[in-house]
Each structure stands twice: as structure tokens, then as C-alpha cells.
Amino acid sequence: MRALTWHGKHDVRVDTVPDPQIVNPRDAIIEVTATAICGSDLHLYDAVIPGLMPGDILGHEFMGRVVDTGPKSTLKKGDRVVVPFTISCGACFFCQQQQFSACDNSNPVEKQEASELLYGHAMSGLFGYSHMTGGYPGGQAEYVRVPFSDVGPVVIPDGVPDEQVLFLSDILPTGWMAAENADIRPGDSVAVWGCGPVGLFAVQSALLMGAGQVIAIDHYPHRLALARSLGAKVIDFKQTHVLEALMEMTGGIGPDAVIDAVGMESHGFSPDNLMDALKQKVGIGADRAHALRMALMAVRKGGRVSIPGVYGGLADKFPLGALMEKGLQIRTGQTHVQKYTRELLHRILEGEIDTTFLISHRLALEDAPTGYRNFHGKQDEWTKVVLTPGAKGT
């Protein structure tokens, strides 16, 4: 089959690789009909996430048609499914608590060691990501082996276009959980840092959950315009002093909840950065941690902090004092995708949520390297790239 493979920093290629097979009883094989490039794929593209190996197949936002099933799969050949990026067994203590991204049983045993060293515990397996999260071959490919296919995949009714439901795989539930983690109450002021896909879906979700006003912060004019079109007020940090503006826009109180949808590209992961941190140097890139620091300063006393942005390592100059003295609450984590997919599918089918506004570019899988280059280099216009396997490349 054809698949987008990683070969090093800023080096991704579409290669011919062996087709996947049913390996375990609960597996299914999906023929991919649509797959997207995620902002977190750019962390891999920038080679700031460790544990990737040349030849690894990327992609964790995908959907398709079931072409083969293991004896314990509950899917049927021909089913159209969206596949959550988190791989979860559904049976362990964590899955039973609906903490699916903490699944005990989906990250292969021998891959858990590095996470245990860095975080104390290993998280669930993820598609198309680091070998720290299992090294599972991803969805930017013609076919994908989907483990625990009786738990994750959501069957989509015929007649619903791929693009309406594709983002159930990651960014829509991630934006939704970001808003849920902000514990929004009616009338709340919510500030969202970052108007990438997750930030925009967090804006949309926060408004649906009853926020009185959502203030979105970024510097890309087009992305700010998208946030505005969803109903947010916007702050361009290149022209406005964000902390002052947030105070003025919230009656001098500060936002009740803040959402950091920026993350810091896991710069803290690499050994040299860990060394730097230990040497009390900035190391992890002060600019990258800036959004979270600002969010902690901006949020009102006793407010809520939600962090959907990806962090991987250590934080330097973290405003721990503001966190404690102001009595803040923090909720964060990789998305428990399976907890949200059915409700969000319902909202999409009811017309309450539209996600297609985000898609700026549609390419053949064969042109995926062009997609990566532009999603990385032209973030203002390239807000979301959807790839179609089998289509003719340019």
C-alpha cells in the first residue's frame, strides 16, 4: 500500500509499504477514505518528539471503510467508521472511568519503559505517533490496522460526507474536552490562546456550553477571522497587550476560565533540553511556554485552567506562585476521545456543530509532503489539510 512515512526532520515521503494484517482477535483493517494532518504531526515533522523511527507511518486523524475483521471485532465489513486517535481496550480500570487516553493495555509492554522513566506511568497507545505511545502505524495510508476495533471506531451512517465527521478522530473531541475541562458556567468569560484547529473547536464548544463571551488570542489574521466567525471576540497579540486587554474586557476581574491551545511542541523532551533545564537555563524555549504563563497570570482568582495544548517535558519559570496563591484549578490531558465521539456525532448530525469550515486544502495522499510543508510554513492560510488516498497526485 501507499503510506506517508517519516524519515527525519522535515523529511516525509509517500512510500510503498506492506499492507497491514489482522494480528490480534479484536483487530479490524480499515481502508482509509479521508485522513488529515494534525498540528501535533508538525511536532513530528520538526523532530521534536523522540521515539520516532525512519519509515514510521504517520497520521492519527482518519476514517474509512472496514475491509477485514478479527474474530472478536464487532465491526462488519463495509462499515464506515471514524477511528479515535487514542487506542483503548475498554476493559481496564482507566477505560472503565472513561479515561481512555490512560488505557493500561494498549501501549505494548516493551514500549512503556521510556514513559515510565519520564512521567512515572505510560499512557495509552496512539496511532502514528512516537514509540513512547506504542509506535502504531498511522492513518496517512491506504490501510490501517485498528486494534480494539470493538471499542474505538464510531460507525457513521451512509450519506454523511467524510468531511463532516472526520474530525471526530481527534481535534473536535479535543476542543470539546478543553472546554469541558474549563468547567464553563453560564455567562462565563473564557479566554482561548491559539486559534489553530483545537483552539477554534474549543471556542465553538465553549459557546455551546453557555459561555457569555469567548476571547480568542492569536496573531494570524485569517485564524483570528475564523474565530470571530464562530462568535468569539479576538485579540491579536502582535498589536494588543493581552493581559491588559483581558482585564478590560472582563470588567477588571479576569477570565473565569482560560484554555491554552498552544502547547509547546514538546521541546522539553530532548536530552539536550533536559540537560539545559537541569542547568537552570531556559532550554525549553521561553516563547513556547509563554502562552501558559500568560494564561495563569490572566485567569481570575479561583479560576479554571484547561490545557489541551501538547506539552512533553519540563517547564522553566512556571508561575507556580500564581497557581497556588490565586487558588487555581488545572485540568489537562490527552483527549479521552471515546468518551465524546457519540455525543459529538449526534450534535453534528443534528446540525449543531459544523467542522468543515476549518478545511483549507484538500490533497491526494500522494501530495502529503506538500501538505506538511505548507501546513508548517504557511499557517495563516493552511488551517487544515485533508488527504485522500488513492487519488491522483499532482
Binding site: P20, V23, N24, Q96, N107, G125
Partner: protein
């Protein structure tokens, strides 16, 4: 099942830093000769005193009743279903020979079942004259809040004179502590999900 080796340079670097920091901290800590014992298992002590024995152990919580886990261990020939380091188990009454995979081939360890409390504990001890003096024990307790069973497995061994280096060499690269922990995780996967997770895209040929 085929598995790709992940050799994360990161892990090595973090380990180096951790060890370095640990040594520094250790040097700074004054440790009085005698302190009252605490509640932790002895194998987690900063300094262990088990005579000539090496000790490794691990506890894992499995969402399954004690009886199911006991049955698995009571019929050790089923252990090869999940223990990747185990090539075979030969059972004859209470005598159990464990055939362990090592980089240099198979190592057979002859033991006898010395403790058997149904749904609670099992222990095996090496027979006199075995290459290694070893005792392995599995204990089962109900986990709190209906979380299933806490499975505690530990192993204590004392290589016989002359075979120390030999055995250590045979097991090089496979720290028994890491190995034991990984086998328990595989048991958990098998009992909780019916399969053992792998990211391999293809069946073993």
C-alpha cells in the same frame, strides 16, 4: 509476536541524568544506621539487605477475580501464553522446570512447588543442586474498591559459586526486575482484554 526494538537514546540520557542526580542526592543524605521499619515492602528499600540474595518483585492490579489468576499460575504450562521470556514449562506433579530464553539459548531451572494456598499464594523453590538457588512467589489479594486482584510476584535468587558470572552473562540485557514487570503487564493484558498489545502491522511469519 514480532516486536520492533525501540532503542530510545532519550531513555539512556534520562537514565544517566537520573543516576547522576541520585548519586548526588545520596551523598548529601545522612542515613542513620537504624531507623524504625516503615510499611513499604523490603525490596523498595534504598539499601537492601537480603544476605547473598538478589530480590526483584512487582505488584500489578488486574481486573479479574483471584480464582482466575490463581488457576493461571497453578497450571504453569499456561504461563507461556504471556511470558515472552519463557520458552517452556515442564510440569510433573509438584516439580516444575522452567525453560527460560536467554540470548545464549535455553536455561532450565528445576523447582518444586513449596507453597500452595488456593486463590492466595503459590511459591516454587529450586531443588538442591540446581544451577541457581531461587525462590519465586505469587501472592493474590483483593484490590480495594472492586478493582480486581492485586498480584504481587517476587523472586529471590542466589547464584551458586562459579555460576554467578555465567548466569549473569546469559541474562545480559534482561534485567530480571524489568523482565518480571513486563511479564506481569502481559498477564494483565491477556486477562483484561484477551490479547497482548502489539503495534506490529503483520503477523509473525
Amino acid at each position: 509476536m514480532p516486536r520492533r526494538q525501540t532503542d530510545l537514546p532519550l531513555a539512556a540520557a534520562v537514565l544517566a541524568l537520573t543516576v547522576g542526580a541520585g548519586l548526588a542526592a545520596g551523598a548529601m543524605l545522612k542515613s542513620p544506621a537504624r531507623r524504625p521499619p516503615d510499611s513499604a515492602p523490603g525490596r523498595t528499600a534504598r539499601r537492601s539487605h537480603f544476605g547473598g540474595y538478589q530480590v526483584a518483585g512487582r505488584t500489578v492490579t488486574i481486573a479479574a477475580p483471584r480464582s482466575r489468576i490463581y488457576d493461571m499460575w497453578r497450571n504453569p504450562d499456561r504461563l507461556t501464553d504471556f511470558m515472552e521470556g519463557l520458552a517452556a514449562v515442564q510440569v510433573s506433579g509438584d516439580d516444575v522446570t522452567w525453560v527460560i530464553d536467554t540470548p545464549d539459548g535455553h536455561l532450565a531451572v528445576e523447582t518444586r512447588l513449596v507453597e500452595d494456598r488456593e486463590n492466595e499464594a503459590l511459591a516454587w523453590r529450586s531443588v538442591p543442586g540446581a544451577d541457581i538457588e531461587i525462590e519465586a512467589k505469587v501472592q493474590l489479594r483483593d484490590a480495594p474498591a472492586n478493582r480486581g486482584t492485586e498480584v504481587e510476584a517476587h523472586i529471590a535468587w542466589r547464584p551458586q559459586a562459579g555460576t554467578v558470572g555465567q548466569w549473569a552473562a546469559r541474562l545480559r540485557g534482561t534485567d530480571p526486575k524489568v523482565r518480571g514487570k513486563q511479564e506481569l503487564k502481559r498477564l494483565k493484558m491477556l486477562l483484561e482484554t484477551g490479547e497482548i498489545a502489539t503495534s506490529s502491522n503483520r503477523r509473525a511469519d
